[in-house]
Amino acid sequence: MGALSVNVGNVSLKSPIILASGTCNFGRELAEYYDLSILGGISSKGLTIKPRAGNPGVRVAECDSGMLNSVGLQNPGVDYFIENDLDFMKDSGAAVIVNVAGHSYEDYIDMVNKLNEHKDKIDALEINLSCPNVKEGCMTIGSDPAAIKLITSKMRALTDLPLWIKLTPNVTDIKATALAAQEGGADAVVLINTLMGMRINIKTRRPVLTNNTGGYSGPAVKPVAIRMVAECSQVLDIPIIGCGGIADYQDVVEFMIAGASAVEIGTACLIHPALPVKITDDLKKYCEDNELILKDLTCTLQRW
């Protein structure tokens, strides 16, 4: 076990670095840039029961230190994924995290059932509970602790694959939603998905994104993500995967100190596809220079 290896519950990762869902597709294009086996894991593009074309028009808006996206879960559907992409991910040598999105409780349940049949190829299911349109009322599942607990426990009953619940930061109390995931039987929570944002083209007086609003990511969201990881690490018993704005090895260290057992990197890899290679090297050097192993950093924050 190297200095970078970490555990997220029962899942052992050779490095804390996981590629964030939606920012690496299924890894194939990035394999043209580097050997994916250096990674701790790869989280697949968010999958749905049926293929989805995603949103039309402009899907990305640039911000000062980040971006808005409104890809809208374009994906080939879970069946196509299992047939065409899962083996590639498995063979990459990185842990296979399958990101699951749904529009209703049934969607999530059907997906988990399907994926459970291929559990030998999957290291964890990452359940994306920030989908804006679900059958149950107008409240999204991801901001309602009771709904989170319910759906997590339903999925828990169906599989013993590790269940990582990915939470939205657009809530008043992230501790409440994270605790609900834990109570429902989650193995870990992933913090954070994107903040909801908007940009307007002042010439056309229209939102830049054809979807009007989009998910905000990149370095700009990091202070919010760090705060949420640190808050949750005070109340949770299950591990946290930190995510949001990571762009260098110091950011990885910052998230781990705040309470993360592993991290996901998204937007920064869109700009520098081979960034995880550099961060991995830098983390090794950091461990050597400081004579430590990385997993000992988790939750070492000393509050004032």
């Binding site: 939606g22 920012t23 597709n25 990035l30 039309p56 640039e62 971006m67 996206n69 869109l270 700009i271």
Partner: protein, 256 residues
Amino acid sequence: MDLKKEYRIKLVSKEFLNSDTCYLGFECPDIANTAVPGQFVNISAGTVFFKRPFGIASTDKENGIFYIGVKVVGKGTSEISQFEPGLMVDCLGPLGNGFDLDGFDTVILTGGGTGVFPINFAYETLTALGKNVIVCEGFRNASQVILNKPSYILTTDCGDCGIKGTVIAGLDTIDISDPAKTLICCVGPIPMMKAVSAWTGEKGIKCLVSMEQRMACGAGICLCCTVKVKDEGPDGFKNVRCCKDGPVFDSTEVVW
């Protein structure tokens, strides 16, 4: 296969083609040696968050230099236009699929605006191979004309130089002997490409177009740069990636 890289490359030359368009040379033997016409590079642009995509306008393999033309339209291109030779920038490339030029007797290159840059690269490549090339470019007016050559058919909207009208007026002057052996490559604003696509459709000429879309990664991983193309499926279309599945598409595939 060699792994792709993100390059850190040097700006070696810069000149202004007109008041708001400049032509930049970057040293990067890998890109200069492997790029084909229609491909693009993604270049870091000063203080803005994303890299910016630009079609490759020319390559100088001997000196390992490639060229791009940049028209100032916003913050990123404005900062790029102020770059001074010697500056190092981050660059991904060559990206995307170029024009598949094989199997045709005649290639007609047409377009306008910043489309003249990839056309220039295609022209240089085809003439170096001794192919039969016809170029027809359209501009708003004489002051907008850049990278023009005497042999080119030139059109302007206002008619202050060349043929008055759009590129269609220029294309109409071309005598096409064998449509099946003729390829048209068109790079320009959407309305222009749409018109050329319709024109080639009537004539039964194969037409390749180069699409533009807002990009985040340029590398095919984020699905931000959607182009709608026809599909057998229930929707009748599917969203593909401009950066990786394009930017060059058969004009009959595109849902305009």
